[in-house]
C-alpha cells in the first residue's frame, strides 16, 4: 500500500509565522510526493495541536508523520508520543526544524521561507523511508556499586542502603573517609570534621546492606545499564581482617618508619601511626591496619628477619603471604565518586614548594591542625618553633592559564578557616594573598566578614614569588613573599615564617582510567562530563552510570553531599522502575553480509561491537549500543546499518533538500 504522509506546520505564534510564509509552505508541501494531507496550526505542541495529528493517525488518514516546528531537541518526544497515542510506531515520525535553525536566525523572509520548504521536503523524503522500531527493555539489577568512599560515596551508599537496597562500596585507600577525614574543622561553621564524619563512616561499616571493600580498586567494568559486571582487585593488606581487632599492638612495636627518620616536623606530618604497619588515622573504617611493603623491614629484607608485628599480634592476624584477591559481582547501576586530588605546587618553581622549608600545602597544614595528628594540632614551623607570621597564598594552580583555568571553589573559604585557626592557636600575624574573595555559599560571606575583624591582613594581588634569599636584615632567616599589592599599587616584600599554598582541586590521577572503564567522558578541565550541565548534573552519557562529588567539578562538602544524594535518588528511581527502556535506534549487523574483516571491532566506544568467533561475523550487542553510528560509517561492506539513520534515509534527506531546485 502506498505511503501516506501527513505534514503539520506549526506557526509557533509568530515565532515561525512571522518570518515564514506559512500559506506558501503549505501549498509547497501539498505538492510533495506521498504527502496525503497538510495542516497548519498555531501551536502544534499544545494539546489541540497534538490532538490534530493524533486524530489523523487514529482515523487512518496517514501512516507517517512530519511536524515542521521547533527543534527536535525540544519536542521530538512530545510528537513521538502523540504519534504513538494515535496508534502508530513513534519512529514513523520525523521533524523539520523551521524555528531554531530557520525563522529565528535569518532576516530575509523570502529566503527563510525557501529554507523552510527545503527542510520540509527533506523531512518528507526521510519520512517515506522510516521504519518502525521496537522499544526495548532490560531488567535492572537492584544492587549498586559506589566507587570511592569519601563523603560523596559514603552519603550515596548510606542513602541507598537505608532505602533497603544493596550497595557495594569500593575504596582505593585502606579506610573510607576520603579527604574529609583529614580535616580538623569545616568552614564556615567550624564544626569538627571528625565529629560529623565518623558516625557516618561507622554506619557504613556496620550497615547490613553495604558491602565494604577498602584497599580495593575497580579493575574492569563490563555490561550495560541494569546489568553491569564489576571486577575488583582487593589489594593484600597482610592483615587478616577477620582476625584483627584493631588493638594497635602491631604498630606500637614496629621498628620501621614511613617518614624520614631525621625529617623535620613538616616532613613527619601524619594523622595515624608513622610505622610501616599502620592505620591511616585512628577513626579508620575498617579499623584494620595495613602493611606498607615499600618501607616494611620484613619485606625489604630478603631474609625476612623482622616479623615483629606477627610476634606481637595475639590473634595471629598478620599474614605476610597474603595475595591480592580478585572479586567479581553484578550490579545494576554505578555511582562514580572518586573525588579529587590537590594540585601539586612543586611545578610552580617560584613558590619554592619542595625546595624551601616552611612552604607547605593546604592539605599538609590541614593535617598539622588535626588534634589527633603528629603535632597534636599545634601549628609549628619545620624546626618545631612557633611561627610568628604566616602567609596564605590563594589560587595556587587555579584560575591560572598555565595550570587550571577554573576556580577551585573551596580555597578562599578554607584559607579563611586557616586564618581563624591560626589566630585561635597562635599569636602569629596572618596574611591572605588573594585575587578575588569568592565566598558564595550559605554563611560564607558572613564568615569572611568575621575574619575581617580578626586582625588578618588581606593583600589583594597574585604572589610573584616566595624566596628565602634576603635583601636586607629584616628578611634574614625568613621566607619573603613578593607580591604586587594592587590596592595600594606597590610591589611589596613581606618577610614571613611560614607560607601556606592554597592549592586547587583537580580530578584524581586515576579518573581517566576509571572513566574509560565506565564509558564516561572526561572534559578538558580534567573532570567527568555530566549528561547536561544544568539539567543532568548527576547522570552521564552512559545509562546507569552516575557521578557525585568532586569527580565532576570542585565542590565543597554541602554541595558534594547534595549531589551524592541526588545520584543515589537517581539510582533509586532506576531500581524502582525495575526495567529500563534502552536506545531503539541502534546499529545492527546483517550477518549474511558481514565478512568478518574485524575493521569495526575497535570503533565502538562502548565495546558493543564484538567478533563472534563461532559465526565468524561481528555482532552488535544491542543493549550496549548507543546508536552513534561510528561503526556503520566504518563498515566497508555496508553490513552494519544504523536504525533510524540508515544510509538511504540520509540520502533521501539530501535529495529532499535539492528537490525544489
Amino acid at each position: 500500500m502506498a505511503v501516506r504522509i501527513g505534514v503539520y506546520i506549526c506557526h509557533c505564534g509568530t515565532n515561525i509565522a512571522g518570518k515564514v510564509d506559512i500559506a506558501k509552505v503549505v501549498e509547497f508541501a501539498k505538492g510533495l510526493e506521498n504527502v496525503s494531507l497538510v495542516k497548519d496550526y498555531k501551536f502544534m505542541c499544545s494539546d489541540p495541536g497534538q490532538a490534530l495529528l493524533q486524530k489523523d493517525v487514529e482515523d487512518g488518514l496517514i501512516d507517517r508523520v512530519v511536524v515542521a516546528s521547533c527543534s527536535p531537541l525540544m519536542h521530538e518526544n512530545t510528537f513521538r508520543k502523540a504519534t504513538e497515542r494515535g496508534g502508530l510506531n513513534p519512529y514513523l515520525f520525523t521533524m523539520a526544524n523551521i524555528r531554531e535553525q530557520c525563522s529565528w536566525v535569518h532576516i530575509d523572509s523570502g529566503q527563510t521561507t525557501d529554507k523552510a520548504k527545503d527542510l520540509i521536503a527533506a523531512a518528507v523524503r526521510r519520512a517515506f523511508l522510516l521504519e518502525p522500531l521496537t522499544k526495548r527493555e532490560v531488567p535492572i539489577n537492584p544492587r549498586t556499586v559506589v566507587i570511592g568512599g569519601g563523603i560523596a560515596g559514603i552519603q550515596a551508599a548510606l542513602d541507598l542502603a537505608e532505602a533497603g537496597k544493596k550497595v557495594v562500596l569500593v575504596e582505593r585507600e585502606p579506610s573510607i573517609g576520603g579527604h574529609m577525614s583529614k580535616f580538623d574543622k569545616t568552614f564556615p561553621t567550624l564544626d569538627c570534621s571528625a565529629c560529623i564524619l565518623t558516625p557516618r563512616m561507622v554506619s557504613v561499616g556496620q550497615h547490613a546492606n553495604i558491602e565494604l571493600m577498602t584497599y580495593s580498586e575497580v579493575e574492569e567494568v563490563s555490561g550495560f545499564v541494569g546489568n553491569f559486571n564489576i571486577r575488583v582487585r582487593k589489594k593484600a593488606r597482610y592483615v587478616d581482617s577477620e582476625l584483627c581487632n584493631g588493638c594497635g599492638a602491631c604498630w606500637e612495636k614496629c621498628p620501621g618508619t614511613r617518614v624520614p627518620r631525621k625529617g623535620n616536623v613538616h616532613e613527619k606530618l601524619s594523622l595515624g601511626p608513622t610505622t610501616p604497619i599502620y592505620m591511616p588515622f585512628m577513626q579508620a573504617v575498617p579499623a584494620i591496619p595495613v602493611i606498607d611493603t615499600e618501607t616494611c623491614l620484613y619485606f625489604k629484607d630478603d631474609k625476612h628477619a623482622c616479623g615483629l608485628c606477627a610476634k606481637e599480634c595475639e590473634r595471629g592476624a598478620i599474614d605476610y603471604e597474603m595475595k591480592d584477591e580478585i572479586v567479581e559481582f553484578e550490579v545494576g547501576n554505578i555511582i562514580i565518586a572518586t573525588g579529587f586530588q590537590t594540585f601539586d605546587p612543586s611545578v610552580i618553581k617560584r613558590y619554592g614548594y619542595g625546595e624551601i622549608e616552611n612552604v607547605m600545602t593546604a592539605l599538609e597544614f590541614e593535617i598539622m591542625n588535626c588534634a589527633s595528628g603528629s603535632t597534636g594540632g599545634k601549628i609549628l614551623k619545620a624546626d618545631g618553633g612557633v611561627p610568628g607570621s604566616i602567609g596564605i597564598i590563594h589560587c595556587v594552580g587555579s584560575r591560572d592559564k598555565h595550570y587550571h583555568d577554573y576556580c577551585s571553589r573551596v580555597c578562599c573559604m578554607y584559607s579563611l578557616k586557616y586564618s581563624h585557626l591560626i589566630k585561635e592557636k597562635t599569636d602569629a600575624e596572618v596574611y591572605e594573598f588573594y585575587i578575588d574573595m569568592r565566598c558564595f555559599g550559605k554563611g560564607y560571606e558572613e564568615f569572611y566578614d568575621r575574619l575581617l575583624t580578626e586582625d588578618v591582613r588581606f593583600v589583594r594581588g597574585k604572589v610573584a614569588e616566595v624566596t628565602d634569599v634576603p635583601t636586607c636584615k629584616a628578611e634574614e632567616g625568613k621566607l619573603i613573599v613578593k607580591v604586587e599589592d594592587t590596592l595600594i599599587g606597590n610591589v611589596r616584600r613581606i618577610p614571613l615564617d611560614m607560607v601556606i599554598l592554597s592549592t586547587g582541586l583537580e580530578g584524581h590521577a586515576t579518573l581517566r582510567e576509571i572513566a574509560k572503564k565506565c564509558s564516561v567522558s572526561v572534559g578538558q578541565d580534567g573532570f567527568l562530563i555530566e549528561k547536561h550541565p544544568k539539567l543532568g548534573p548527576v547522570s552521564t552519557a552512559t545509562d546507569g552510570v552516575f557521578i557525585a562529588g568532586a569527580c565532576q567539578s570542585p565542590k565543597d562538602i554541602p554541595d558534594t553531599v547534595a549531589q551524592a544524594s541526588a545520584a543515589s535518588s537517581a539510582v533509586l528511581s532506576m531500581i524502582t522502575r525495575e526495567k529500563i527502556e534502552i536506545e531503539s535506534a541502534t546499529a545492527e549487523v546483517d550477518e549474511d553480509k558481514c565478512s568478518g574483516c574485524k575493521l569495526c571491532n575497535t570503533l565502538c566506544p562502548y565495546l558493543a561491537v564484538k567478533f563472534d568467533e563461532e559465526k565468524g561475523v561481528s555482532v552488535v550487542n544491542q543493549a550496549l549500543c548507543k546508536g552513534c553510528g561510528t561503526c556503520v560509517a566504518g563498515c566497508p561492506s555496508g553490513a552494519i546499518s544504523a536504525k533510524h539513520f540508515e544510509d538511504r534515509q540520509i540520502f533521501a534527506e539530501i535529495e529532499g533538500i535539492f528537490s525544489g531546485l
Partner: protein, 162 residues
C-alpha cells in the same frame, strides 16, 4: 541576483546541532544558506554522504562535531576528522576544491561561533562560485547523447555495414 550558495550541513546531535539551536534561541542572525541534517554523532558521517550532497547540488558541505575530547560518544569526532582529512585528498581528482568541504568543532554552548562559521563559510563558498556537479555532468552527457536507436537505424542503418 547574486549567487546564493546552497550548503548542506551534517551536524552531530549533542554538540553542534544543540549549538545551532542555541544560535536560534539567542536570535543570532546568520546566512540562510545552510540546510542541516542531524546525525547522532559526527562519527556517523560518511564521505559518501558528502559526495552525495555535492552531487545533488550542494555548493559546499559543512561537517560539525563536538570539540576533540568532548565527544558525547568519546571518540566519534576523531573518526570524522580523519575521514575529512582523507576526503580532502581525493576531492581535487573530482574537480572539486577541498575548501568546499569544511569540518568544524562546535560545542553546545557555541551558538555565536556556529553563526560565525556559517557566515564565513557561506562567503567562502560564494567566492568560490557555484559548483553544480550534476548540471555539469548532465551537460557532458548530453554532448555524448546517442540518437534514439530506432531513428538512428532508420537514418544511418547502412553505415553500419562493416
Amino acid at each position: 541576483m547574486s549567487f546564493e550558495p546552497k550548503i548542506v550541513g551534517f551536524l552531530c546531535n549533542w554538540c553542534s546541532y544543540t549549538g545551532a539551536d542555541l544560535a536560534g534561541t539567542a536570535r543570532i542572525k546568520y546566512s540562510p544558506n545552510l540546510r542541516s541534517i542531524r546525525v547522532m554523532c559526527s562519527g556517523r558521517i560518511e564521505p559518501t554522504f558528502i559526495l552525495k550532497a555535492l552531487y545533488e547540488g550542494a555548493d559546499g558541505v559543512l561537517i560539525a562535531g563536538c570539540h576533540p575530547g568532548d565527544c558525547h560518544y568519546q571518540e566519534g569526532n576523531y573518526k570524522a576528522l580523519r575521514r575529512h582529512r582523507m576526503l580532502r585528498m581525493i576531492l581535487p581528482g573530482f574537480g572539486i576544491e577541498p575548501e568546499r568541504v569544511r569540518l568544524e568543532w562546535v560545542a553546545a554552548s557555541e551558538g555565536e561561533r556556529f553563526a560565525t562559521i556559517v557566515d564565513e563559510f557561506t562567503e567562502e563558498i560564494r567566492s568560490l562560485g557555484p559548483l553544480k556537479v550534476r548540471d555539469s555532468l548532465e551537460m557532458v552527457l548530453s554532448e555524448d547523447v546517442i540518437l534514439n536507436l530506432d531513428t538512428a537505424m532508420e537514418e544511418g542503418g547502412d553505415a553500419n555495414e562493416a
